[in-house]
Symmetry: C2
Subunit: 274 residues, 2 copies
Amino acid sequence: MVERLQDFSRLAIHTMTFKRLDLRTIVSLFQKHGVPGITVWREHIHDIGLGEAKQILRDSSLKVVSLCRGGFFPSASAIEREKACVETMKAMDEAKEIGAPLLVLVCGAEPGLPLAEARQQILDGIQKVLPHAKSLQLCLGIEPLHPMYADDRSAINTLEQANNIVTAIHSEWVGIVLDVYHLWWEPWLQSEIMRAERKIMAFHVSDWKTPTTHLLNDRGMMGEGCIPIRQIRAWAEQAGFRGFIEVEIFSERYWNSPPDEFIQRIKDAYLRYV
Amino acid sequence: MVERLQDFSRLAIHTMTFKRLDLRTIVSLFQKHGVPGITVWREHIHDIGLGEAKQILRDSSLKVVSLCRGGFFPSASAIEREKACVETMKAMDEAKEIGAPLLVLVCGAEPGLPLAEARQQILDGIQKVLPHAKSLQLCLGIEPLHPMYADDRSAINTLEQANNIVTAIHSEWVGIVLDVYHLWWEPWLQSEIMRAERKIMAFHVSDWKTPTTHLLNDRGMMGEGCIPIRQIRAWAEQAGFRGFIEVEIFSERYWNSPPDEFIQRIKDAYLRYV
């Protein structure tokens, strides 16, 4: 049996979980409620500018867990592929500026571009930006996305695929972002988590609701759905993961709820279901 | 390069593609438009009764390709699991009655029931109904469903999993239903299709639209989306598949369109994109 979490020392929340708020308000909210970790989305930086974002985070007691997100490598156009690499390197610079040790990569896909080509372009793209990551001493985390996003968000749809890329690239700076929402259904999830071992660089939680009414913005609170979150956390910890547990919920319903109530629900669900 | 289809001799359409029409109307429509094959959903039989359905199909020139659907094996309750087997055997009897050589199995899943258990229960369920299939000389086709249906429709979500089950069961009466909508994203789809070989008992087509606005009823017409349908057909044929190509489109949009126009669009898309 897996033990419950006893306190909030490993709790982090994504700024996108509070999509409608600005970074300053989010940081205050997290501090008020004793949430120690934050994963910052670039949208929340760009709204106010990097300088101000950096200042807000530095003045806070929050630990910046990661920056979301770089990647989106594949394209039928070589110019677009080059742009994606440049943009990802820019995101790396931002990550370094705000003190994030990790940039999350959503690898990308393009409708009509064959998945086999997209997958090769992703490998090529990561290789291309890797020297910049090394020079910054910044980790890159490949986040496999659910297969329902294989059309336009990511051609990397299983942990097995992500593990294969990480194995192929063979760099201490490239690892895995494990999100239970994307991977809970994967047939050999347990063994792929053990295979990933210390390469697991981040762990995201939310839940899969039945029914799910929207492909993007109907994620559930932990405990509202069918994902065996605690079991998957146990596997990740067996594999050696000791980092933050990041709550990443895209939900029109929660985005429209009062932030103080929502964050309290997150904390309750965190202890009960994670 | 893969050749286009030259005629409609291998075209079949699912009755559920015309969900709002009754079986008699659907059969007339298919005959009027020169569609030679039909896959019948049980809903369309039960609306009018098995006797009348059988009569309508026998009086037509249509070839019944398969009956949809049995399965839904997993449950936390042993009584429910038993019921699912009984219902699946009843579906087999109906298949035999209407002259369908194949019953499509949607294997089932139950929110909260661990997927590993659901997967074992599916294997057990198929083993349980297999003697009945043998006695009827009826094929059972395991249809892996897209991972977005792993919560409540099927715990079998990749061709690889389905191939593993078929290998384990090792019976001439159990094979694969390959639906491009469910499997197009699968990382090693080509090699799993070759592995399935002559075990491919049916081939379903539709398309994945970007964006997809509903998890169940927003499938696209062939050519409207990103699925490399012709490529996947070519692989299936390399593997030895020579059967009907079945158009299975669940779409509120098309269900609300005039049937004659819709079927003409299907025929056009069939020659252009399949």
